[in-house]
Symmetry: C2
Subunit: 105 residues, 2 copies
């Protein structure tokens, strides 16, 4: 599932591209200019983002536009949230138990 | 920041360990038994989880216990949420604009 999403988000350059796209659909040039890396490097990172389903590319003649795929981001976010919530719920139970013990005294 | 957290979560075996630990503090044996991989492989994956700050290890004599670091998980979750929310807010604005245009007609 979110395996590829986490892999896609694991590189700072790919996260910068996602941060730029979160502001709206952008051309490849708009989303990747001033990143200080070569075009082949950009292409490789974009390919990883697309294959992971984090970014989608719409081709309109010569113009390639990139958009975020919010469903993929939401799935990765939900997985982390589920683990964190389960852990935190556990400590709520421990806290409640200790509070109740305190009341009994 | 969450660079290492995403890298740590990018492997299914490491995610399974996190899922087990979300149920509470566990010994290395409890958290990693039945994963069908060798001990050196387990050690390597645990090291990555610890170095990324996703898991912490408490050593009590011969017993090594593992716990989740909810702050690291929360930071990674928040980063994804920030990108998703920014993107979604944009489409709320577009939707509102279209709804208002419709009202005007």
């Amino acid at each position: 599932m979110a395996n590829d999403a986490f892999t896609a988000l694991a590189h700072p350059l790919r996260r910068r591209i996602v941060e730029r796209l979160s502001g709206g659909v952008a051309t490849v040039g708009e989303a990747t200019s001033d990143l200080g890396v070569s075009k082949p490097t950009i292409s490789r990172h974009l390919k990883m983002l697309e294959e992971a389903g984090v970014v989608t590319r719409v081709i309109d003649g010569r113009t390639h536009r990139l958009a975020l795929r919010v469903d993929t981001l939401a799935a990765a976010e939900e997985w982390i949230k589920a683990q964190r919530s389960r852990w935190e719920a556990l400590f709520d139970v421990v806290g409640q138990y200790l509070a109740e013990r305190k009341d009994e005294r």
